[in-house]
């Protein structure tokens, strides 16, 4: 499967601060990719680099085999929805569709009209008076109706109420099914992503912590509980992500492709949310001080 986004050592620096550093990814096509991380981790920077709004300071990035925003053809293949779905407040909904039709050779007018009709948007209404959910839907219509191959969304549901959030994601999934889209969407909440994403990237402190298909990640991460044990004594193939100790007990989150054969461990599954939290707490230089638990790993 070809890669939709391919980066190598990608970095972006603003003055002296690296907003993104040493990012090497190969995101396959045909997935809904979730980009998770706290605010300031570099998610928006990575997405802006992917759509060509900013240029890298270091490394390279290739989107759908071409340089981001390199020309009209490249721009037509990538749809983008920025944070808070900015729209032209003075233009009506119909004006926005006209904008899309005139500026995109691949514009599907029927699709756009159909979506607006189903969403119950008044074509004459000024976009500035739309609710947050409606604005997000309008922006999604604009991004989807130009028939891109890749859709990039920056925190699309962060400021939406639960109903609007659900409707937006439902609509997005329908578009993915209909048009065979690849999607990269970012969020700082894992719950948003659990249902819709089948590929996960965790970004923290401007670096990629883990990246891979969700199925594979869930299958290779296990929670081990057992009597107190020094994590350094584990077999080589088992990578410890987080460790927590009491004086008699040890709880470890490990990543391994093989089986856990040691009978001393109780092995249990990890949810996606716990997995993400574990990587996020595996942060820059934090060390476990004996007896203190980092995170709640059991629901």
């Amino acid at each position: 499967m070809s890669a939709v986004i391919e980066t190598s050592g990608l970095g972006k620096r603003y003055r002296r601060l690296w907003a993104l550093a040493d990012c090497t990814l190969s995101i396959p096509a045909g997935h809904v990719v979730g980009l998770v991380g706290p605010n300031g981790a570099g998610k928006t920077t990575l997405l802006n680099l992917a759509v060509g709004l900013i240029a890298p300071t270091a490394g390279t990035i290739e989107v759908l085999g071409g340089a981001p925003a390199a020309g009209q053809a490249q721009l037509a293949r990538v749809g983008f929805l920025a944070q808070d779905a900015p729209v032209y407040a003075g233009l009506s909904v119909a004006d926005h569709l006209r904008l899309g039709a005139r500026l995109n050779p691949g514009w599907d007018a029927g699709l756009a009209r159909g979506r607006v009709g189903r969403l119950d948007l008044d074509p004459g209404q000024k976009a500035g008076t739309l609710s947050g959910g409606q604005r997000a839907q309008l922006a999604l219509t604009l991004a989807v109706a130009k028939r891109p191959e890749l859709l990039v969304l920056d925190e699309p549901v962060a400021s939406l109420d639960p109903l609007a959030r659900r409707e937006f994601l439902a609509d997005l999934m329908e578009a993915v099914a209909e048009q065979d889209l690849s999607v990269v969407l970012s969020s700082h909440l894992v719950a948003d992503l659990e249902r819709v994403c089948d590929y996960l990237i965790v970004l923290l402190g401007s670096r990629v912590r883990v990246a891979g298909p969700v199925d594979e990640l869930l299958a290779t991460h296990h929670l081990l509980t057992g009597p107190y044990r020094d994590p350094g004594t584990l077999p080589a193939g088992q990578q410890v992500i987080t460790a927590s100790h009491t004086d008699v007990q040890t709880t470890l989150l490990v990543r391994t492709t093989g089986q856990i054969l040691d009978p001393a461990w109780t092995v249990s599954e990890v949810s996606l949310e716990d997995l993400v939290l574990a990587y996020m707490s595996q942060a820059t230089g934090r060390r476990d001080r004996g007896g203190r638990r980092h995170l709640e790993v059991r629901k």
Binding site: V32, R166, A170, M173, E174, A177, E178, R195, D198
Partner: protein
Amino acid sequence: MIEFHLDGRSGVAPYLQLIHQVRQALRLGLLSEGDQLPKVKDVAAGLAINPNTVLKAYRELEYEGLAAARPGIGTFVTGTLAGASLAAHGPLRQELRRWLARARRAGLDDESIEALFASTFRSASEEGIA
């Protein structure tokens, strides 16, 4: 056509839940051979889940011989699970009602009935295997 639902807190993977619901529908006679399963697009939109999840479930059903995909048209049921047992459902259901009435008369509450059923079911299954 059946409608899917998801229990987000059951801990069971979504695609397994979908498979389970199809099998359940087959057993209860809600789905029979030749019926069309809901379109991937509609399930994905209705439940707000990744279409690949739905595809995975449908592929698994295909592998089990219960469904077959017709490109461009949809996925259709090709196998059954109920079989002749559907006919036996009626009398079995009646017997079960009678048993439940007796259990209540004996003073068992809901939890006790469930516990009794679960433990008997498990031990009977193990005996069946052994």
